[in-house]
Structure formats: C-alpha cells, structure tokens
C-alpha cells in the first residue's frame, strides 16, 4: 500500500510539473483556429506549419542564432576570466581576499534591471549597441562571480600538494594548469558553464535593452507577437518549444554534476 501511495504522489507531482510544458507542445502542433475556438487535449488537425514558419523566416530563426552566439561568447569569456580568478582565491592569501570574494557575490544581489540604463548608455556611446559582444559582456557581470564561486569550491577540493608535485616534476604553471589541474576540476568547469549558460539563455531584460535588430535574442522576438493579422498563437508556442530544447540538452549532459554544483563544490 505504501508503495502505491508514493507512486500516486509521484504521478501527481509529475503531472502538475508537466502540464504547462505539455500544453505548450500541444499548442505548437495546432492551428490558430483550433487554439482560439475549442478546448482539445490533442491537436485535432495536426500541423507542422508553426515550426515551418520559424525555421524558414529569418526574423524568427535568427533570434536563435543570435542567442546562441552571445550565450556561447558569454560562457567562454566567463570561464576564461573565472578560472584564473578562482585559482587565485583558492591558493593564495592576499590583502582583502575574503572581502573581495564576498563582494563578488554581492553583484548578484541587484536585479539586472538596475544595470539596464547604465549599460544602454555606456554601450551606445562606445558603439557596441546591438552587437553580440555587448550582451555577452553585460551577462558577465552576473556570470563571472557565479563561476568564480563554483570553481573556487571545486579547486579547494584539490590538494595543494598536487600543484607542488607538478612543479617538482618540472611542469611550468600554464602547462600544469591545463594538463593536470583542469582535468581534475572538469566537472566543476562543466557545472560553471551550465550555470552561465542557464542565466544567459533565459535573461531577457538586458539582452532586449542592448539589441535592436542584428543581435536580437529569441526571447525578445517572442515578446513581439502581435502582428497585423492578430496574435499568432501556434507559432509562438512552437518558438517556446524550440527555446526549451537547448536548455534541456545541456541539462542532460551535466545532470550528474548539478547537485554538486549547487553545493558550489563544497561537500
């Protein structure tokens, strides 16, 4: 009986979780008439038109391309900056190191909206407005501190004696870092990359403020849905489904490390 009770709870839990996602998928295969006129659990007139619209219209699919470009740039920049920073925090003591480390986290206490105006003004004046790098750099403000925190936790778990043994063996610092050290914290790098990806992928406000046409992200495209012919529900739903896909893929790859990442590597 206990088993059936827990199975029931689990089923209900999954049902509630999946209903919105199912509804999105359901809608994406319906025509606009069916969506607006009737209530159906399955698409009555199954159509792929919505997906065809997105994958053929540049104003739609370029949104994905733009998003992917600046997210990738952001992940690369964040990790490149955060790896040496985290190494310094984990290995050396210097004046104000603890305060600086905590200060990194305080950057995340302000909502992105606070930075929308200064960033807009700043990037416009230096000619970076509506470029991928502008969004990537803006997201670094939030992602670099997070990546430093995650990586520092993982690096602290590696004994300092490994560094020294490598130096004694004759490794130079860069060689040691790439050949010995990075493989040891590979899961940490993966988790940090995931968190950077996740923030950058879902963040809407800054990416919309800093772009207009050339670097417009998919999330911003989705907010512009009312066209001359009214609301295109089906296309919007299909766009939503396609937006979930990259996140789901990344989660699939790092699923084994996520819990460790939330603990910031501290066991």
């Amino acid at each position: 009986m206990r088993l059936r009770g827990s199975a029931l709870v689990m089923t209900l839990y999954l049902l509630f979780l999946l209903v919105p996602i199912y509804w999105l998928v359901n809608m994406s295969f319906k025509t606009n008439t069916e969506i607006t006129s009737t209530f159906t659990l399955f698409p009555n007139s199954f159509t792929l038109r919505n997906y065809v619209v997105i994958l053929t219209d540049p104003s739609w699919y370029m949104g994905y391309v733009n998003s992917i470009i600046y997210v990738t740039m952001n992940v690369v920049i964040s990790l490149t900056v955060a790896l040496p920073a985290a190494y310094a925090f984990s290995r050396y003591t210097f004046m104000g190191d603890k305060h600086l480390f905590f200060w990194l986290l305080t950057n995340r206490m302000a909502p992105p909206a606070v930075f929308a105006l200064p960033f807009f003004q700043l990037y416009s004046s230096v000619g970076l407005f509506d470029t991928h790098i502008a969004v990537a750099l803006a997201h670094c403000l939030f992602n670099v501190p997070l990546a430093v925190w995650i990586l520092e936790g993982f690096m602290r778990g590696v004994p300092k004696e490994i560094d020294e043994t490598a130096y004694i063996d004759g490794y130079s610092f860069p060689r040691f870092f790439i050949k010995i050290f990075m493989p040891l914290i590979a899961s940490g790098i993966g988790v940090a990359a995931f968190f950077c990806f996740m923030f950058s992928w879902v963040e809407l406000l800054l990416s919309r403020t800093l772009t207009s046409v050339n670097a417009k992200p998919i999330a911003a495209t989705m907010t512009r849905t009312v066209s001359a012919s009214g609301m295109d529900w089906g296309v919007l739903a299909a766009a939503g489904v396609l937006t979930i896909v990259p996140g789901a893929l990344v989660i699939w790859f790092v699923r084994n490390y996520i819990a460790k990442g939330f603990a910031l590597g501290r066991v």
């Binding site: 004696e161 043994t165 490598a166 130096y167 063996d169 004759g170 590979a186």
Partner: protein, 362 residues
C-alpha cells in the same frame, strides 16, 4: 653531489619557523629528519626542495648556489604523506610525466617507466588510474614518479604515515633497497624513532624548528647531545628526574642513591638532570647495582607481550616499558628499579654531561 644548507632560516609572519640551520647532506646518504609533529620537518624539507625560499642563508648543490632557483629547475623529487598522484592520468602516464617534460624519447621513457614499476612492484597496475589502487599502491606510484627521473635529491615526507600497519612494514623494508639502487641523497621525515633506527644512515633531530643534533643514527641515539634530542629520539619519550652529585655519591630524585663511579666519577659536584629510557625501568632487581624508585602507578597498557606503566614519581611523570604481562592495580605504589649504567646525565642547560655507561661502551 652534496646538498649544503648554510645558516638557512625561514621566518613566517614574524615567527621563526626554521632557526638558522647548517647541514651538509653527502652524496648517496640516507638522512632521517626526526621530530614530533610541527617540529619543522616539512618546512625544512620544503626549503631543501626549493618550494619555499629561505628568509636568510644559502643553499648549495654541488657547490653551486641554488638558493633562488625555481623548483622546476632543481633536480629534486618529493613524496608526500598524502598519496599525491595525478588522478586524471593512468599510473603509466603518472610515472612517465617527469620524463616527458625532460624531453626524453619514447623508447627510453618506456624502458625507465617499466624498470621503476618493476622495482616498486606495480607493473600490473600500469594501466589503471591511481584512485583505483589501494593506499599502498598509490604511494608506490608516487614513489615511482619520484625515482624515475633519477633526481639527485629525493625527499620523502612521512611517506608511510597514512598507510596501515601491514603495508607500512612491507614498504619500509623496501625503502633501504630502493635507496641503494638509486644512489641519490635521500631525506626521510618521520615522527617515529623506531623508523629512524631501522633506516640507519644519518639522523637530524628537530625540535621547534631547530636541528638539535645531526650525525650517524646510532650515535645520535646512544649519545644524544642534549635532553631535547634524547626526548625526541626515544619512544615513549625519555623519563627525567632531577639528581645531584656529592663526592662519591649520586642522588636521584632525593631518595635513591648510587655510587658515582664510571662516567659519573669525572663530573663536578652539583645539580643535574638524569634521563633514562622507558625500557630500562624494571619491576624487579637483578643485581645489586640498581636504584629503587617508589612510584604511584597510574594506568597500565598491555600490548601483547609487553606492559606500559604510567608512573608518577614526585612531580615527574614517567613511562615504563616492561616485558611480560603484569597484572598491577592502578593507584597503588610500586617499586621500579633502574641500572645507573642506563642513565644519561644532563647539565642545567640540558647538554649531555655524561652518557650512559652502556652507550659509551657500545
């Protein structure tokens, strides 16, 4: 090839971590650094390796000054107490990595790796990752990596401390053989006097960052230069009792007397401290040449065929190690006997005034 430390010292945050130390480690010698935890064994070793730079003094290798030389450019190897290997590489790659960095060719590396693995009996594990091995095998891998590059100076920092008893005995028995084959200068840090005696060679005893004595291991053991060395180099620590000499009489702890003959005869009259090792206390007397102490018995620990007695004599706390299993009641008064031939006499500054007669004879 010799490593010379010339008045090397290290100060960390205003604290003297290593007092000025002058040592010469000769080519092909086994040198034991013996001292309790925090006595500076690891700090001294890090200075020798070049991982830390001395605050003052010079380090010379083969006559050349290497004080500020990067650790990568020194010909040293080091094994830590923790089993330090590169977890992402196989055992083979671990051992090969120092050679690859030296730019040796493939065949030569392969030959050296296999020979070293053979010597340390880990040939069967070459394809595995270090973390899949037992503790003893991990440490063998670390030893192999240290030995394969044929460094002139091999530093072993309590390499056996984290191993269980059996593996420890096994590996300890092999270390002198490995040392013989390598021909390098070995420096071996340990907290255990027994280990120093088993390894032989030279011993430097450390106490609070200071080398108290350096010399051939048996000499340091039998003729400690001062009370500190004697305390460090005996396990359980040496027992001490105040004593004085008056004419032809030695008095120990106020009550026990013995004639001041042998080495004691030459001592001027005055106050001294007498030291003796735990195993020289006996629960019965064999000859007339013994001194009797009345002590309060604290705890007894029976370890198979031997019994440790924790004794209180006046204000001094002693440990006695006697053969056989003795059923004694804690809290009672017991008599223990000591042969004056086993007594070291230290002067007021703690320097050795007269060595024990048995040690002087040996």
């Amino acid at each position: 090839m010799a490593l010379e430390l010339q008045a090397v010292s290290r100060i960390v945050k205003g604290q003297m971590q290593i007092s000025p130390t002058t040592l010469t480690l000769e080519k092909g010698t086994m040198n034991v650094l013996l001292g309790p935890t925090l006595s500076g064994k690891t700090s001294l070793m890090r200075l020798m390796a070049g991982l830390d730079v001395p605050s003052a003094g010079r380090l010379k290798w083969d006559g050349a000054d290497v004080t500020g030389v990067r650790v990568q450019d020194r010909k040293v190897a080091m094994v830590y107490q923790q089993f330090i290997n590169y977890p992402a590489m196989s055992v083979y790659d671990n051992i090969a990595s120092p050679l690859r960095l030296l730019g040796k060719d493939k065949a030569e590396i392969d030959r050296a790796v296999r020979a070293t693995a053979e010597m340390l009996k880990i040939t069967a594990m070459l394809d595995r990752k270090p973390l899949e091995l037992s503790g003893g095998q991990q440490q063998r891998c670390a030893l192999a990596r240290a030995l394969v590059k044929e460094a002139g100076l091999v530093l072993l920092d309590e390499p056996l401390a984290n191993l269980d008893y059996k593996l420890r005995e096994e590996l300890r028995a092999e270390i002198p053989r490995i040392f013989e084959e390598s021909g390098a200068i070995f420096v071996y840090a340990t907290t255990e006097p027994e280990e120093a005696l088993l390894l032989g060679g030279n011993t430097a005893t450390l106490w609070e960052g200071r080398v108290t004595q350096f010399g051939p291991t048996p000499t340091v053991y039998r003729q400690p230069a001062d009370a500190t060395t004697a305390r460090v180099f005996s396990d359980p620590p040496m027992n001490f009792v105040s004593c004085f000499k008056e004419g032809h009489r030695m008095n120990f702890g106020g009550l026990a007397n013995s004639p001041a003959d042998g080495a004691f005869a030459a001592l001027p009259d005055g106050r001294y401290t007498a030291g003796f090792r735990a195993n020289h206390l006996h629960l019965n007397t064999h000859s007339g040449q013994t001194v009797e102490f009345r002590c309060l018995l604290g705890v007894t620990e029976i370890t198979g065929s031997e019994t440790f007695l924790h004794l209180t004599h006046g204000n001094d706390r002693w440990v006695g190690l006697v053969h056989g299993v003795h059923d004694l009641q804690p809290g009672t008064e017991v008599s223990v006997w000591l042969d004056p031939a086993h007594v070291y006499i230290f002067d007021a500054e703690g320097r050795l005034a007269a060595p024990a007669a048995y040690a002087a004879a040996a």
